[in-house]
Structure formats: structure tokens, C-alpha cells
Symmetry: C2
Subunit: 506 residues, 2 copies
Amino acid sequence: MYVFAIYSALCLFFMRRYEARFINVNNYLLNRSNILAEEYELSLGGTLILNEEEETVNKILMHWKEKESDEFFNNPQYFNFSKHYFTYKNHIYKSKVYQIIKRMPKGAALHLHSSLMLHVDKLIELTYEDHLYACYTDDHLDLQFSITVPERPCPLEWSLLSELRNASNDIELFDSKLKTFFTLYTENEDIMNSDINFTWNRFNKVIHNIKSLIRYRPVREKFFYKALKSFYDDNIMYIEIRTGLSYLYELDGTIHQGLYLAKLYQQVTKKFMEDYPDFVGVKMILTHHRKATLNKIQTALELANKLKDEMPEFFAGFDLVGQEDIGKPLFEFYPALFEAKDRINFYFHGGETDWFGTSTDENLIDAILLGSKRVGHAFALIKHPTLLREIKEKDIALEVNVISNVVLSLVQDVRNHPLASYLALGLPVVLSSDDPGAWDADPMSHDFYLAFSGVASKHADLRMLKQLVINSIKYSALNDKGKTKLFKIFNRKWEKFLKEVIAMNN
Amino acid sequence: MYVFAIYSALCLFFMRRYEARFINVNNYLLNRSNILAEEYELSLGGTLILNEEEETVNKILMHWKEKESDEFFNNPQYFNFSKHYFTYKNHIYKSKVYQIIKRMPKGAALHLHSSLMLHVDKLIELTYEDHLYACYTDDHLDLQFSITVPERPCPLEWSLLSELRNASNDIELFDSKLKTFFTLYTENEDIMNSDINFTWNRFNKVIHNIKSLIRYRPVREKFFYKALKSFYDDNIMYIEIRTGLSYLYELDGTIHQGLYLAKLYQQVTKKFMEDYPDFVGVKMILTHHRKATLNKIQTALELANKLKDEMPEFFAGFDLVGQEDIGKPLFEFYPALFEAKDRINFYFHGGETDWFGTSTDENLIDAILLGSKRVGHAFALIKHPTLLREIKEKDIALEVNVISNVVLSLVQDVRNHPLASYLALGLPVVLSSDDPGAWDADPMSHDFYLAFSGVASKHADLRMLKQLVINSIKYSALNDKGKTKLFKIFNRKWEKFLKEVIAMNN
């Protein structure tokens, strides 16, 4: 009996120890999964509930995401997010995740500069238009449509591009050389990895070259129609373009200023919507270069006022553009902007910089204080806890352009893009592509792909993608009626997309 | 009278409008400076109050910081934080900010791997010791101290290094070739910018080569003394080393295992403290490679227990080491670690990765749940809002090693290092240098310089630097008595430093 009592006591003692340890270990696992669940729920799209079909598609998507992520992890020689986008961009097309994202309806593209929307392959088609003269050396290109030889100075001489092309032995080679003037794409890693000022100099040249092609009114019309088509084909249903509304010319010498281009964009959009009734439209954000004087900004704001009165449906708001680091900060213009802010909606670029604590970095403060509806890039926001709180409280959307930030020398490894944190914090992110034409990217699919496979957590799934699309509609400049229409079309396309992915996989 | 009334009313109307605008604009400026002030105060060191002398030094420091920052901004061809540390490391010495930081007493270095603390120039002196045989080809080096030719296999043949050196036509050239085996430093940008696996392979070879030199007991003694001296000369007053306590050998074939090396480190430290009485000491964090089996980890934890009992003053805690991405996650060992955690202090590496949502990334969760006193690197923490909250609440220090993260291919542009956000959030950061010997960096000054001039806000000043030093003492494994002693010595050195900077500038 005594022995039994001792045995029982010992047994109880060890059971309790075992139990205590078991409870502790269970607690550990519970705490751990609670943290993971809390972080997932907080992250962008984390509270969305998927229906049965969505769950099926999600399984397919996540199967490929995991498989490809393991491949990249194990074979950095073939696909390596630590390198520049140009080194792996042509591999993206093979990705199954990309192929699913490509088909996915992606809602709206809200941060685009109008002249840089079109892929160089499509741009080159426009150089086959009649009457195009070129002033052309190895590192200089100027274009002008004209009946006679342009009178503007040219370092060598103006020649009809068609004649140059025909005189070349190899048209394909000629065109591929011509393309280099219209794109930042390069296979030279030294150029890829140059500093921001060098890159922006190259970028400004590309902008100049493209603009010299599309300043001719008939070509601009075709250019914009093709651009809308390429976004539409990439499953984008609504677009907001940033444009400085510069002049256009006709062959007869007529010059169109100011509102003309806005109206042309509107007409082309109307035509496009007739041809593709499930495209919801375009709105315009008037821009001005940030190197301007206060006077020029005031004049631009007056133009914005006029646009708002004359084209209230088409006009969305105002922004400043150009390399943020070396341009003037918003603060320099704040009295004029402050006065205009109750009438004009702002969509300011802010914090497109690596320099913490500089005036570029502090553009974020002014964008927020000036009531900017969204902030463009907001790359530096992650370094500003107070501004992060303001952004969240005021529900200001962040227009994130991952590839742009790589190509324009802000960050090299997309996995270090602050978007990862913005997604984890569930901030109101909208993805966009800034100038996809200038870096030979898809209109929007490459940016979605990189954000999903390169930047976001391995656990981020269809919920995140869907939330990004929802955000692009929610934070657009559309009125409620427009948003409802866009949501309706999106929902229809989304169902079709789900069925397609399931069918593809059967 | 009527006209006067109208005039007065009008006047009042315009005055009120003017006043309202004036108040608004003033409000704007007030809001703006409040945000800036709030962010400054939240940031690391933001609440420190400087005395008069410190204010003077701060003015000198900030004068140079601003001047140099403008220079780098305007001349990216000479100094460019967007590039790899190796491209600008030799320019750092010219910086006045660096020269001030170099003189600054920097408290403690808390994240160091014992074999990689010594600069290659000092390491090379040790290759002049007698009896050193080398097995040496263009891309392979193995070293052994021996009376006779070593019996271990060698692809070519074992030769006395002294004979090889004497037989070479150019000893300087011979040594500079020899150095390449002991360092990751390279001028080849392709190698600098390789992927993480490639870099870690190079790194593991460097570790192998250095270890083959310092496995010989008398050389290890000299090595460690020289290492302490180099940190001391860089104004570091206390050190915590991570070491796996591998074996040492003597010329007569004796092998020393286990505790021997710990005791040797302790003896050398004692000798060093006798020679330099204002050096406060060394503590040891026992490490094991993270590719180990659960069994091996359990054995290592038993050794930790033993160390704790036998050398309670010297032993600080336990950690796992090796490339985190391809090693096993903490979670795989958690039952053993969980059981040990109430007896052994942990100082785990966590989140030394770019891969968000992987098991490496989630080492951060386990480090926190296992009660890690500090977290090594915590590079990925910025992507984890819940864990950021936990770190703050539990006051867990982050051991940040900026240069290490660049050299070991986590991030290229230091301005994109998450340390910027950790500093802005006022998290308990301690700076360290991980393996400064392996990348030819100063023991600690280069890391302080980069954190201050490259990573932190342009507004971050002497307060931040002082807080980093305070943190390094506060979050060390020293007991209260030790911390008090270290603070006392620091304060004395700090006053001397202030006077020196002021004198330099007069």
C-alpha cells in the first residue's frame, strides 16, 4: 500500500511535469500561430473571405508561387530578385504565377505619365508614319514631322527616317538601334546599376526622344489609342494619366496649346470606349515640372481651375513631376498650393528618394498637409512613423511603382522595397507602373507579378491581389457612380478569370 | 457716413480674409514643424539633452555632416551610398565626420564572431610565425603549424610559408596575394554584387582559411590579443564575442577541446585588461552551426550549462550561426531551446534575410518567443508590425550590422537598410560590425559612420550617436556593477572626446 502510494505520487508528479511541459509547448505553438494569424489579418487583403471558386484558384496560384519561389531560391543564376529587373524581365513570361496574373482583371492604373505608357515595339510602328524627319547621330535623336526639311538646327542633317531606314542594309537592325533611343532597357549591368543622376539623365533623353515623335497631332492620337489598347489587353479597365498638356503641331504648321491635348485625350478615350464598351474611361491629372518658378505653378493652377470648369468629368487633379531629389520641394510652393487645395484635388509625388531627412523626403509631410488624395511612390514613407500614422488615419492611398523604383535607381533588390512593409501594415496601397513603356514592361502585369512574387510575403495570396484591385477602384478619382460601374465590370471579369484558371488547370 | 460704413465693412471683410489666411498659413507652418519635432523626438536619442560642450561639438559635427552629404549628393562619381561599401570604403577615411566618430568613445561591441574580428593586415603578421606550412594553389589555401611536413592530404604539396615567401621575387606582392584568402574585399564589382549564395560560399572559404591559421594555440592567443587591441584603439571598451569553441592544437600534437578555448579567451582578456585598465572586459556567447541535428544542439546546450556553472562571469549566452536562409530555422529546435530558455540567455540571430514569409524570416518570431535578450541583425523585422510591437514592449535590443548586410548581399544601398526605420521608431538599436576583419573595415567606426551619414536622417545628430553608445552598454550582458563601471569610463572618455573635437576645431 505504502509502495503503491509512493508510486502513485511519483506517477502524478511526472504526469504533472509532463502535462506542464505539454501545456507550455502547446502554449508556445498557440502563441506562435496567433502571431502569424495576427500579421496575416493585418496585411493587405488579410480579412477578405474567398468563395469556393476563389479558394480553388488560390490553391492553384499558391502551388505555383511556392514552386517558383523555391526554384528562384535554389537557382539564383537563372532568376534573382537581388539583381536589376532588366536581368530577369524576359524570364518572367515563363512564370505560371505571371501567366495567371496576366489574365487577372486588375482594375485601374492610377499612376501613369501619358507619354511613357507605350511599349517601344508599338512606338516603333509610329515611326513608319509619313513625313517623319530625323536628326540622327549615334547618341542623339530628334524627330519632326514635316512636308519639307525642318528648319530647326541639327548637328548633322535632317533626313527622312523612311529613307534612312530603306538605305540601311538591315531594317530589323535599323529598328532595333532606333528602339534604344526610346527605352532605358539595356543589357549592360554597369548602366543598369548607375547612380540616380546618371539614370535620370538617360531617362530625360528618352522622354525627349519619345516626345519629339508624339508631338505631332495625328501620331499622338494613334499613340494614345494604342496605349489604351495595351492597358486594356493587360486587363486594366480604367486609367488616370498625368500630363503636362504640352503643345501639339500639324503638318501645316498649326500649333495647338493648352486645353487642346486634354480634349484630344478625351476624344480618343471616347472612341476607345465605343470600340471597347467594358473600358470605363480615363481621367487626367495635370502636371507641371517641379523645377518651375512659383509664378509658373500659379499659372498651372489656373489652368487646372479652367480644366475643372470645362471638363469636370475628365479632370481629376494636379501634381508636380520631374526628378524629385534635384527639383524644388513642395514646401517652396506651399502658399500657392495651400490656397488652391480646397478647389483642386492633389495627387502629389512624395518621397521618391533614398535621402532620409532631405527636402525630397519631407515632400511627404507637405503632400499630407496639403490634403493630397493619394501620394505617388511614397518610397521614403517607411522612415516616418508619424506620417505612416497620418496616412492610415486619413486613408491616403500610396501609388507604388516597384519597377520604376528599380529602373530609376532607388532600390535594386525588389525584396528590399518598402512596399513589403506597406503590405504587411495593410496600408491603402494601389499598384501602378509609372512609365512602363520606358522600361519595356507590361502595362501593369509585371508590377503585379513583382509585388506578389518578389516583394510580398510568401504567405500573401489571392486575397492580396484582389484587395490591390479593389483598392485601385476605391482610391480612384471616379465618382461613386463610376466606381460602382467599374466594380460591376470587375466582378464579371473576375468570375470569368476564376473559371479560366480552373479550366487551364484541369 | 454711409460710404464710410461700406468702406469700413469692406475693410473689415478684407482684413478678416487676410487674417484668416494668415492664421491658416501660420497653422500650416506650425503643423509642419510639430510633425518634424514629433518625429525627431521619437527617433533614437531624440529626447537626450545636450550640455553646452556637447552642443558645441554637435554644431561642428553637423557642419561636416551637411557639407559632406551635399558633396556626395552632387558628386556621386566619387562617393555613392547606392553602390557597394567596397567601392567607397577607402574614401571614408577622408571624411571629417568619420574622423570625429573615430575618436568618439563607442561603448560596447555586442555582435562579433571571434575568428573574424581582426583586419587582414594584422592577420598577415601572424603568417610570419615559425613552423607554418601552407597547402597553396591559386584558389585554395590550407595552413598548418607543424614541426615536420603535415600528413594531411594536399592537392599539390605542403611547403613552409616562410620558404615560399622568401622564394618569391616580391614579398609585398606575395603577401597581398595571401591577403585575398583572408578577406571578402574585392575591386571586382561583379563579385561584389553577386547573389547571397555565391557570397556566402566565398565567405565560408575565408572563414576556413582564417581558422586554419588560428587553430594553433599560440597564434590564437596573439590573434585575440591583437583583436582586442584593435577594438580598443577604435574606442571600444567592452566586447561580447560569439564563438563555437572549436579545438586548438599545439606543435607537439596536443589537442585542446571544449572549455579550453573559453579559458584561453578569458586569460588573454585578463592580460589585456592588466595592460589597458580602462578596458572593461569580454563576455562570450556560445554558438553552434544552425545546420546541426537536434542532438548536436542539445549537446551544445549542455556545454552552455557547463560554461555557465564554471565561468559565470565570462559566459553570456547561446546562439546559432551560419547562413540563415539555408540553415535550419529555430523552430526546428524549439523543444530543446524552450526547455533551456529559463537557464540560458539567448542572443539569437533572426531575420538575416530578404525572403519575406520564409522560415528564415520567421526566426524572428521564435527568437522573441524564446525570450532572446537581443536579436542579431533583425534585418527582416521591418516587415513585421506585430513583432515590431513585441520588440518594443519587451525592450529587446536589435544588433544591427550595416556593413555586414551589404557585404553579405542582403542590401546594396545602405540608405535602404531598415535601420533607417528602426532609428526613426526609436527602437532599442545597438550597432555592431559582425565580422569586420573579413571585410577590411574598422572594428566599429565604419559601421557607426555609415549608420550616421548613410542610413539615419540628415537631422540625426550627436544625440543619436550618444544614444547608440548608451544602448550598447544598457543592452550588454554585463551585470549592473559592470554597466556602472562601463558608464563611468565612458563618461570620462566622452568628456575628453568633446574637448578634443573642440580643440581640433579651434
